[in-house]
Amino acid sequence: AQSVTQLDSHVSVSEGTPVLLRCNYSSSYSPSLFWYVQHPNKGLQLLLKYTSAATLVKGINGFEAEFKKSETSFHLTKPSAHMSDAAEYFCVVSEWAAGNKLTFGGGTRVLVKP
């Protein structure tokens, strides 16, 4: 079975400072990992994904994540937060053997202070 734990339910950062969102996963097989962002009253948007190629994955809007198998982690980072980054972020795991259904973490709400 697959599962995801997002270690922080809320993160508050100042504009221009780094952002770190922590995620640990559990998977029986070789997983695919994703980060999705959900802005208020908008649909889920894919930020980036890992599917067994390079362990450092770059996504949209300056976000990147590193897959660490030994630590079963897939933390999301951004060097400099922007006001528009305020949103809910979800770490997600899927297994092809399980039909690619997505298992979401509980989410991390990011607040960006001016």
Binding site: S32, G43, Q45, T51, W96, G99, N100, K101, G107
Partner: protein, 115 residues
């Protein structure tokens, strides 16, 4: 191009009523998923179609929930005899293949409120 669309966007039902939620996936997408997102939580898997075949319905919470995709495109999620605990946002997603790590494109969701 057009993304995944869902209708209605908002639905209010009295307890015990039946509701039907519609999903129009991106044209040509093979895979279609339904998820349920309760307030303040991450989405949870309900069911999965590959073309018209429902390959996984393990996430449907009870036999009051039923989904179909008869022609392999539009899908409908039906909830019979709605209960207050059914109140949530119902999300539909589609992907163009069924390969490892394929991106799922999400619709805006239908917010269901059961009074």
């Amino acid at each position: 191009g057009a993304g995944v669309s869902q209708s209605p966007r908002y639905k209010v039902a009295k307890r015990g009523q039946d509701v039907a939620l519609r999903c129009d996936p991106i044209s040509g997408h093979v895979s279609l998923f339904w998820y349920q997102q309760a307030l303040g939580q991450g989405p949870e898997f309900l069911t999965y179609f590959q073309n018209e075949a429902q390959l996984d319905k393990s996430g449907l919470p009870s036999d009051r929930f039923f989904a179909e995709r008869p022609e392999g495109s539009v899908s409908t999620l039906k909830i019979q005899r709605t209960q207050q605990e059914d109140s949530a946002v119902y999300l539909c997603a589609s992907s163009d293949r069924a390969g490892k790590g394929d991106e799922q494109f999400f619709g805006p969701g239908t917010r269901l409120t059961v009074l």
